[in-house]
Amino acid sequence: MSKYYLNYLDELESEAIYVLREVAAQFQNPVILFSGGKDSIVVTHLAKKAFYPAKIPFPLMHVDTGHNFPETIAFRDNIINELGAQLIVGSVQDSIDNGRVAEERGKNATRNALQITTLLDAIEENSIDCAIGGGRRDEEKARAKERFFSHRDDFGQWDPKNQRPELWNLFNGKHFEGEHFRAFPISNWTEMDVWNYINRENISIPSLYFAHEREVVWRQNSWIPNSEFLKLDEDEEVVLKKVRFRTLGDITITGGIESDADTVEKIALEVSGMRQTERGNRSDDKRSESAMEDRKRQGYF
C-alpha cells in the first residue's frame, strides 16, 4: 500500500507549481524576477519543473543595481544559458544616468530604494503584466499579509489595506491596462524550507552562500563585504574573515555572518539553530520598524 499523502516539501512544491501554471494561464506577458539569490533560484527551478518538457514560457528579469557581487552575475548568465531563456535587465545605473533617480549620498547610501523606479520602468517598457517573485510571508511582517496573486495599480503601488480576498486556490489575476500583478509561488515557504528543498533537489546556488574567506568590515552588527563601492570611515577596518551570506542583494548593504558551513547540508543545519531572522543582516530593513512595508507600498519586490 502506498501512502496517499504528501510530505510538507512535496505539498509546498505542488502548491508553487500550481501558482506558476496559473500565472502562465492568466497572464499574457509574465517574467520571473531573478536576483541571483536563493529564493529566485528556487522559483526558477520550480518553473522548470512546472512546464517540463516545454521550456519555461517566460523570460527572467534582473534588476541590476550595478553594485553586484561578481559571483551573482556569473551565476545568472550561467542559468540563462542552461535554460535557454531570455534575460531582461533593468539597470539602476541607466536610471541614474537618465536622471530618473538620484544616487543617495553619505556613508550608508544604497541603491536599494532606487531599484523601485528601475523595476517599475522595466515592467512598463516591456509591457509586463505579472512579475513573479521569490517573496516569502515569513520574511517580514509586511509580507505576512501578501497574496499569491498581488495586485498593483497603474503606478505600480501595493495597497495592503485594499487587497483582493484570496480563497481556496482560486486566484483572480484580472486587471486593467497598465496595471500589473506580482505573483509569489513560494509565499508559504520558510527560510528552512528553502534550504531543505535546495538540499533535496540538489539545486546549485552561488558560492557566496557557502563559507569562504573574504575582506569585510564590521558595520551595523554584520560583516559588510569590502568592494569598490564601499566608503570606509576612518575608524573602520578591513579584515579577512570566514563568512557566508544568508541573503544576496546590493553588495554595499548585504551583511555576512561568520560561519564554517560550506555545504548545503551544513547550512541547513546552521539555519535550523539560527537565532536571528535572515533580514537581521540587511541594513536596509534596520532603518525603521516599517521599512519594508513602506518600500513594498511603492512597488518594491
Partner: protein, 417 residues
C-alpha cells in the same frame, strides 16, 4: 525534519481579548520559533508600553496596531515547525470584517482553533466562528478554553463550556471537535502539559495539532483533474508531446485509467503521468503533475479530466452558499464572472433564497440584499455548464468565486450545495 512530515494549516478565531494573540505568541515561543531579533523587538515594545515581562501577544503585532486604529484588518499568515510537522497559521483578527477574513482563512484550513474565555463561556461570537468553520467544512475544530487560571483551573467550568458548545453545535456539520482547557498567558496545556489541571486527561494543544489525522481529509475517491494549461514543447526530443498540466483536485489517477474529458465527453485512457522527469504509476491530490492520453482529443484550460465511471455533475444551475466580500452591494440579477477550478464563465445571481442571520443562525427569507459579510443561499445560472461536486464532498470542485468584470474585484466566495 523527517521526510514524511506533513503540513497542517489552521485558523484561529476568538473575540477580542479572549487571548488569541497571546496563544499564538505562546505557541511560537514555547516551540522556539521566535528569533532573537524578533524577541528583542517585542521586549523593547513591551517596556515602552509599560508591561512587566514580555507580552507575547505583541508578536502578532502589525495587525494589532491596525486593530487599535480601527482600520480594516486582513488575514496574516505565520509559520512554525516542530520535529513532527510544519504549521501555517492563518491569523484572522478583526471585528467588522470578521466574516470575510475568517472565510478566507478557513478556506484552506485543516483545523480551526476557536477560543473561549473560561469566565464567559460560549458567547454569540463562538457560535458565529463555529458556524463559519462548519460552513467552510474545516475538518477539525479545537475549542480552546482559555484563561483557566482565572477560574481556579476548575473542571466544572471546563465541563460547562463543553455542554454549552455541544448544545448548539449539534445543528452544525462538524466531524471532529475537541476541547482543551488552557492558560495561554502561563503556558498551561499549550505546549507543555499543565500541572494545575490533573483532571484533564487529553493532550496539550501542540501535541493535538501534531497528531491530528489529516491525510483522510482530502477526498480520495472522486478523481478530478482540472486542466490548468496544455504543454506543447514542439522540440526535437518531444515533437508530438501533448501534456495536460494541473493539480489533482481530489482522488487518485493511475496510468491505464479510462478517462473522460469534460465537458466535451471524449474518452481516452491515461498513457503517462509525470512530475518533471519522473514517471509515476499513480498520482493523487494535491499533487501537481502532467498527464498524457492515448488519444489525440481536444482538451484545453478549464476542461476537467475525470474517471469515466465517476463523473461530476455538469450543470448551469447552481445552488450556492455565498459569502459577499465586497463593499459594493450585489446588484439584482447582475452578471459576474464565475471562477471554478481552472474554468471561468459568465454567471448571474438569479435569486437570493435566504440570508443567514449570523447572530442567531436563523434563516431570513425577507431580506434579499447581498452586502459585505452577508452569507446567503443563492441560485446562480451560468452561461455554460460547470463540472461541479457538492462542497461537502469536495472542497476543490465545490467552491467558486465571483469576479465583478467592471472593477475586476473578487466580490464573493461560494460553496456549492
Amino acid at each position: 525534519m523527517l521526510d514524511n512530515n506533513q503540513l497542517l494549516r489552521f485558523t484561529t478565531a476568538g473575540s477580542v481579548d479572549d487571548g488569541k494573540s497571546t496563544l499564538i505568541g505562546r505557541l511560537l515561543y514555547d516551540s522556539k520559533s521566535i528569533f532573537e531579533d524578533q524577541l528583542a523587538a517585542i521586549e523593547k515594545t513591551s517596556k515602552k508600553k509599560g508591561h512587566d515581562g514580555v507580552d507575547l501577544a505583541l508578536f502578532t503585532d502589525g495587525l494589532r496596531d491596525e486593530r487599535e486604529q480601527g482600520i480594516t484588518i486582513d488575514v496574516a499568515y505565520r509559520y512554525f515547525t516542530t520535529p513532527k510537522r510544519k504549521f501555517i497559521i492563518a491569523d484572522t483578527p478583526g471585528h467588522i470584517q470578521y466574516t470575510r477574513n475568517m472565510v478566507t482563512g478557513a478556506s484552506t484550513a485543516n483545523a480551526a482553533i476557536i477560543l473561549v474565555d473560561a469566565r464567559h463561556g460560549v458567547i454569540e461570537q463562538t457560535k458565529r466562528h463555529s458556524f463559519i468553520a462548519s460552513l467552510l467544512q474545516i475538518p477539525h475544530i479545537i475549542v480552546c478554553i482559555n484563561k483557566m487560571d482565572l477560574v481556579d483551573f476548575s473542571e466544572a467550568a471546563y465541563n460547562e463550556v463543553i455542554e454549552q458548545f455541544e448544545e448548539f453545535s449539534s445543528k452544525l456539520l462538524v466531524k471532529d471537535v475537541r476541547f482543551i482547557p488552557l492558560s495561554a498567558l502561563n503556558g498551561d496545556n499549550v505546549v507543555n502539559r499543565s500541572d494545575n489541571m490533573e483532571w484533564y486527561q487529553g493532550a496539550p494543544l501542540l501535541h493535538t495539532l501534531e497528531t491530528l489525522h489529516i491525510s483522510s481529509d482530502i477526498n480520495k475517491i472522486d478523481a478530478r483533474f482540472p486542466v490548468q494549461t496544455v504543454l506543447r514543447p514542439q522540440s526535437e526530443s518531444h515533437r508530438d508531446y501533448r501534456g495536460y498540466a494541473g493539480r489533482i483536485a481530489s482522488g487518485v489517477l493511475r496510468v491505464g485509467d479510462e478517462v473522460t474529458a469534460m465537458p466535451s465527453g471524449f474518452t481516452s485512457s491515461i498513457k503517462s503521468i509525470h512530475s518533471f522527469t519522473t514517471d509515476l504509476k499513480e498520482a493523487y491530490a494535491p499533487m501537481s503533475v502532467s498527464i498524457t492520453l492515448n488519444d489525440d482529443i481536444d482538451i484545453s484550460r478549464g476542461d476537467m479530466i475525470v474517471r469515466t465511471n465517476n463523473q461530476p455533475e455538469a450543470s448551469q444551475d447552481l445552488e450556492v452558499m455565498l459569502c459577499w466580500l465586497n463593499n459594493d452591494e450585489a446588484k439584482p440579477r447582475a452578471k459576474y464572472l464565475i471562477r471554478h477550478t481552472s474554468n471561468e464563465e459568465k454567471a448571474m445571481i438569479k435569486e437570493v433564497v435566504y440570508k443567514i442571520d449570523i447572530e442567531t443562525l436563523d434563516r431570513n427569507f425577507e431580506d434579499k440584499s447581498l452586502k459585505m459579510n452577508d452569507i446567503c443561499r443563492v441560485k446562480i445560472r451560468t452561461t455554460k455548464p460547470l463540472m461541479v461536486d457538492s462542497y461537502r464532498d469536495n472542497r476543490s470542485t465545490g467552491s467558486i468565486i465571483l469576479v465583478d468584470d467592471m472593477t475586476n474585484e473578487t466580490v464573493a466566495a461560494g460553496m456549492i450545495v
